[in-house]
């Protein structure tokens, strides 16, 4: 009888866990220095763990988790700089200025000099984006929400023109 109970718990428990991960979100460890100083601020101080909330709508400035376009098994964490229709001045990309095509976005790490981002890949399909990083959950000394903002010098060109009027 107990064996049957155990089997039933596992049989339904695993799908419930997977569904929560797929629909609500999950906690993940941040590797690398590309999002310094917001995530993993100091070398040798260990890793930050962030809560990634599943979403399908993204705003400029959000810190997002996405599949690398070069490798489907690698996930990246970057900041959305521009959405479709925006014009961005690139940093190290092959064109100095890019207008983002329909259904794409431009993502960059905050630590631009040490980041694998749109300056390497080009505009990224929004379908590659899976989740938004909402807060740092571990270690306790780092408990905080992740703020959504676009660095002043990275605001897309079309917004600069509009704000000057």
């Amino acid at each position: 009888m107990t064996l049957v109970e155990l089997f039933k718990t596992v049989f339904f428990g695993i799908p419930i866990g997977i569904t929560i991960i797929d629909v609500v979100g999950y906690v993940a460890r941040v590797d690398g220095v590309s999002m310094q100083p917001v995530l993993n601020p100091g070398a040798g101080k260990g890793h930050d763990y962030v809560f990634l909330k599943k979403s399908s709508h993204f705003n400029r400035g959000d810190v997002v988790c996405l599949y690398s376009p070069r490798d489907k098994d690698q996930k990246l964490i970057k900041r959305v700089i521009a959405l479709e229709g925006d014009t961005v001045k690139t940093l190290t990309y092959k064109h100095s200025s890019v207008t983002i095509p329909v259904g794409h976005c431009w993502v960059e790490g905050d630590n631009a000099s040490n980041s694998m981002d749109s300056n390497l890949f080009g505009p990224i399909a929004l379908a590659c984006l899976t989740a938004t990083a909402t807060s740092i959950v571990w270690p306790p000394s780092r408990w905080q929400f992740v703020k959504s903002f676009v660095p002043e010098h990275r605001i897309p060109e079309n917004f600069r023109i509009r704000s000057r009027d």
């Binding site: 997977i18 070069r70 489907k72 259904g103």
Partner: protein, 145 residues
């Protein structure tokens, strides 16, 4: 009594979510882009396991998220995997690492990689195995036709 009903609904709902998301899925195909292999309003069975463990091969029919519309799925055939050369007009293009080249079988009426370029493999959702509706036209798709 109510509590038990809620519990059962959640359990069964989650079980179906996992099956449809990670094991196998039924997809209603609309649009002419895969004619004459798949007609509009055909229902096909999509397999989420082989792309993950065996990988995608040239000739497979796949369901992929659209590059231009993130909420829309498209059904196309894989024409090239990383390293393959694709003829586009008068020039050659190499499929980059981590991407695939997708084309519809109905070349005159398909929006595919010829329009939007190579597609990241992360967007592929599954491989189309067979047509299950209409029942009289049941057919297993191979990757050579």
């Amino acid at each position: 009594m109510v509590w038990n009903t809620v519990k059962t609904t959640v359990k069964v709902g989650c079980l179906f979510h996992v099956i449809f998301e990670h094991v196998t899925d039924v997809v209603w195909c609309r649009g002419p882009s895969m004619e004459p292999t798949i007609w509009s309003d055909n229902v096909v069975l999509c397999d989420h396991i082989t792309p993950r463990y065996r990988g995608i091969r040239t000739g497979d029919i796949v369901i992929s998220k659209s590059v231009t519309k993130p909420d829309v799925n498209v059904c196309k055939r894989v024409k090239g995997v990383p390293g393959d050369y694709i003829v586009t007009g008068y020039s050659f293009l190499r499929v980059p690492t981590g991407h695939v080249w997708l084309e519809g079988d109905n070349k005159q009426n398909s929006t595919d990689s010829r329009t939007y370029g190579p597609v990241p493999q992360a967007l592929l959702r599954g491989r189309v195995v067979c047509r299950i509706w209409p029942l009289t036209e049941f057919r297993v798709f191979s990757n050579v036709d």
